[in-house]
């Protein structure tokens, strides 16, 4: 009988593999990726298209997101109401999600209902109606959401940070959903043009995951999408460069704030970055887990915050690297100082071997926990399509993670984090926080009235 004083030792590990993905093609050449053998009788069918916000034309920022929303607004055959009822009468959930690099349109339902759901999914993608009045409703919803973002402290800080980190006019300098001004210029005709020019079988794939019969699933896929034709141009490359290369501080004044929303960071890396695995380990050590340096310091030692996180947001282009947290007004300067100290410490000295072991062991162990649902598996496969990852990517994922050493992480930190270029944004009460920030060696401080911080164009 083991004692209680030491943690128990683990029993032998059982192997786990990413589920086998069958790769097929429809009659029109469209790629299909299938995972069968999921034990519960549920299925997710997802059309993934390389048509994200990066493809929205200048002056129409937010078009890809809005077009995605409005796919639910009816097809040339079904009204918005008919479409919703046809899917919800069989218990299906459905929706589109648009990011910088892709639009995904998905339906999840009981496997027995896939033959009913698949044709509707295909119709949403191939022949959306974008009827004028219906489209205007989705546009008004997005504009109202943009207005909400200006008063939500976390969104306000994130949008301001993107704006001050990236050079003006570049892809990532504005909110992914666009601004009130740019959304206001979009009409149904823009959405029709966007879908005609960007949605096509050659620039995407169909992903199906669930308790399904492969042959039957392929047959419904062929019936829905196999005769979809139309060549589309590959999406343009994102344009992203830093706004400046020095430390700088921007305070977005929010008079009613009892807490400061903080973001510290700079331009990051693209998804294709060579040392990607070292980078995710680096992020776990810095601020990507409960036991990270930042969280143990700012939350568990100082009690400054409910939580602090760091993240790299790799996209086809270099997304932002950022540390984000929310702290009481009175400790804003102290918290920002500690964030800088932790970042500098990790860049100067690298992680300890034990930290890297803990992080790689975490990533390897948590892998199957994030592949429990058909939706999670489908999203991973969609990501492989969007970022051109090799077919064995997830099969070799855990080996690649375990190969990461402290030296790799130290090098990744020096290469990808540049303390001299950190841009700090605080959304909070300027009267309280500016004096605290001016005492730190983190760059010149400028203050923006909330109203002025709204993004142009």
């Amino acid at each position: 009988m083991t004692g209680r004083s030491a943690p128990p030792t683990a029993s032998p590990i059982r192997p786990f593999e990413f589920p086998a993905v069958a790769e097929e093609r429809l009659g029109n050449g469209m790629e299909v990726r299938l995972v069968s053998g999921v034990p519960l009788p549920v299925v997710t069918a997802m059309v993934v298209l390389r048509a994200g916000e990066t493809a929205s034309p200048a002056g129409r920022e937010g078009l890809a997101v809005l077009a995605g929303d409005a796919l639910e607004g009816g097809t040339t055959r079904l009204s918005s109401r008919e479409l919703a009822r046809a899917l919800e009468d069989i218990g299906a959930s459905f929706g589109a999600a648009t990011g910088w690099d892709s639009t995904t349109v998905a339906v999840s339902c009981l496997a027995e209902h896939l033959p009913d759901a698949m044709p509707i999914l295909a119709e949403m993608v191939r022949s959306p109606a974008f009827e004028d009045e219906e489209f205007a409703r989705y546009r008004d919803q997005r504009m109202a959401t943009a207005a909400q973002r200006r008063m939500d402290p976390a969104a306000l800080a994130a949008d301001a940070h993107a704006r001050f980190v990236f050079a003006e006019g570049g892809t990532y300098a504005r909110p992914v959903g666009g601004t009130e001004a740019s959304i206001g210029r979009i009409d149904a005709g823009d959405a029709r043009d966007f879908v005609a020019g960007r949605y096509g079988p050659s620039e995407g794939a169909l992903v199906m995951v669930g308790g399904l019969d492969v042959r039957a699933a392929l047959a419904v896929a062929e019936a829905g999408l196999g005769d979809w034709h139309g060549e589309v141009d590959p999406v343009p490359e994102p344009v992203a460069s830093p706004r400046r290369r020095e430390r700088v501080v921007h305070v977005v004044h929010r008079a009613e704030s009892v807490q400061s929303r903080i973001r510290v960071g700079h331009i990051g890396v693209p998804r294709s970055v060579e040392d990607y695995f070292a980078l995710i380990v680096l992020n776990l050590v810095l601020g990507g887990s409960f036991s990270s340096r930042l969280n143990l310091n700012l939350r568990e030692r100082q009690g400054f915050t409910y939580g602090v996180r760091s993240s790299f947001a790799p996209r086809r282009g270099p997304g932002p690297f950022a540390v984000s947290t929310a702290v009481e007004n009175a400790v804003t300067g102290a918290a920002v100082g500690e964030i800088f100290r932790e970042i500098e410490g990790l860049v100067d000295d690298g992680p300890t071997r034990d930290e890297v072991e803990a992080a790689t062991s975490y990533l390897a162990g948590v892998f199957p926990l994030r592949l429990e649902t058909t939706g999670q598996i489908a999203s991973r496969i969609a990501g492989m399509v969007v970022y051109d990852l090799p077919g064995d990517y997830y099969r070799s994922y855990r080996d690649r993670v375990r190969e990461v050493t402290a030296a790799h992480v130290a090098r990744a930190a020096r290469r990808h984090i540049r303390p001299a270029e950190l841009c700090t944004v605080v959304a909070g009460n300027a009267d309280d926080v500016v004096p605290q920030l001016e005492g730190l060696d983190i760059g010149p401080v400028s203050v923006h009235e909330e109203a002025l911080a709204r993004s142009a164009p």
């Binding site: 109202a144 409960f290 649902t373």
Partner: protein
């Protein structure tokens, strides 16, 4: 159908085992029968602070050792405090089942030796910042404080929120921690579920090994205040909040039969018909016609005397709150004419969502603990879907008539103050700094 086995240890700990060998992952979930409803006046928010303290170490686990150990093996862990219970859960690669059981048993049996005033002060600050982040600094953040205090009488356990007031959070002492632990954190006031990749006999053996030595305690005291209340507010009660919010929003709540009653199933069907999905009445009639930007309906799974039925509707910048409220009331007034097709859609929607949610071991283990705690029978998870299917059109209509009338409503309206009304976007750049 899940394979569900139930046991009770000599110290009163109820154990639920639900083996599923599909993937090498196991979920461990504990429900303690204590939540914000057990808090007396002056100690609101305490159950939640206590939950934070459960991660501050125990006799054999150092401060933050819980997360450290779980993350180190690639697991995920957390805890939540709710009105009727506090849950603690971890999902780990299955060869680390012993680790999860050791950690949970150590804080169930040996938490107090690790408690210090310094740790309490640290977590008090963390929780105060949680409150600022989620309530005081967030548009609409205090909606539940406002709705609960209108919907439930002052001496009812649901009158106050889980987060509690800043004053009460500030007042918590180390003595409170000791008393609370001795009163509620007992094997005879808890359910432990182990779900996923395990051999049930072996798992039960390991559970006994780690938990059997923990002594039981006295049955926890009755809830403070008055728990039995009429399923009606008597009239429409309301409050208007002029605040820094971008869009007008209406919360409309009703007191309805609690989760543990047969009538709850009809309530769930009605809630789906009114406000779940794009075929629901609120979406179809309010969102499609651009009266609301968004609108949804919820029924909370609360157990004490009554639960909350809730509609949330958000307008556009140019929406008048009066119109938005009238539109929502109109739907509640009229929902008694719901149809067979709407009921069928509501049921299949719930069934499919439940099945999809059960794919996650964390959810499965939590539901098992819930049914074992509230119904003393975890197998109820397997039966609940068929119970929902038995709700008839007449039952649903009668439910609407009994609970969704104007004499049973609490309304909180958020109105953008003058400075906050969404205005057209400015064009000034970041160079325009003061």
């Amino acid at each position: 159908m899940l394979d569900i086995q139930q046991h009770v240890l000599d110290n009163g700990l109820r154990v639920v085992l639900a083996p599923d060998r599909t993937t090498p992952v196991v979920g461990v979930n504990l429900w303690y029968g204590v939540g914000s409803r057990n808090e007396p006046e002056g100690r609101t928010g305490f159950a939640h602070i206590f939950e934070h303290m459960m991660f501050q170490g125990s006799a054999h686990v150092p401060t933050n050792g819980h997360f450290h150990h779980i993350e180190r093996v690639g697991g995920s862990a957390n805890a939540t405090t709710w009105f009727d219970r506090t849950n603690y859960y971890a999902t780990v690669p299955s060869h680390n089942l012993d680790l999860a059981l050791w950690l949970e048993s150590d804080r169930m049996g040996w938490m107090l030796p690790a408690m210090t005033a310094e740790k309490l002060e640290n977590q008090r600050q963390v929780v105060m910042n949680e409150r600022r982040q989620r309530y005081d600094n967030q548009p609409y953040g205090d909606w539940d404080e406002r709705v609960q205090s209108l919907l439930f009488p002052g001496d009812h356990p649901y009158h106050h929120t889980v987060i509690g007031s800043m004053e009460d959070i500030a007042a918590a002492t180390l003595d409170d921690i000791h008393d609370f632990f001795a009163t509620y954190y007992l094997p005879n006031n808890a359910v432990l579920s182990v779900c996923g990749d395990c051999d049930p006999d072996h798992a039960l053996d390991r559970v006994r090994h780690y938990f059997e030595a923990i002594p039981p305690g006295a049955t926890p005291p009755p809830l403070p205040g008055t728990t039995e209340i009429p399923l009606s507010t008597g009239e429409t009660v309301r409050s208007d909040v002029h605040a820094a919010v971008p869009l007008p929003r209406v919360y409309m709540a009703a007191r309805v039969p609690p989760f543990t009653t047969e009538a709850f199933y009809a309530g769930e069907v009605v809630s789906n018909v009114i406000g779940r999905g794009r075929s629901s009445r609120l979406y179809d009639r309010l969102v499609r016609s651009r009266v609301a930007k968004s609108a949804s309906c919820h029924i909370l799974p609360l157990t004490t005397g009554a639960t909350m039925f809730l509609v949330v509707a958000t307008g556009f910048p140019d929406t008048r709150a009066e119109e938005l409220e009238a539109a929502v009331s109109g739907e509640l007034d009229a929902v008694g004419d719901l149809t067979e097709a709407e009921v069928a859609r509501a049921v299949i929607g719930s069934e499919t969502r439940t099945l999809r949610a059960l794919q996650r071991l964390e959810t499965r283990a939590d539901l098992l603990s819930m049914y074992a705690t509230l119904f003393n029978d975890a197998r109820r998870l397997n039966e609940d879907l068929s119970r929902l299917r038995q709700v008839t059109l007449n039952e649903a209509r009668e439910w609407c008539g009994a609970y969704l009338h104007a004499g049973n409503r609490a309304v909180v309206r958020y109105l953008p103050d003058d400075a906050s009304r969404a205005r057209p976007a400015g064009t000034a750049g970041p160079g325009a700094s003061a």
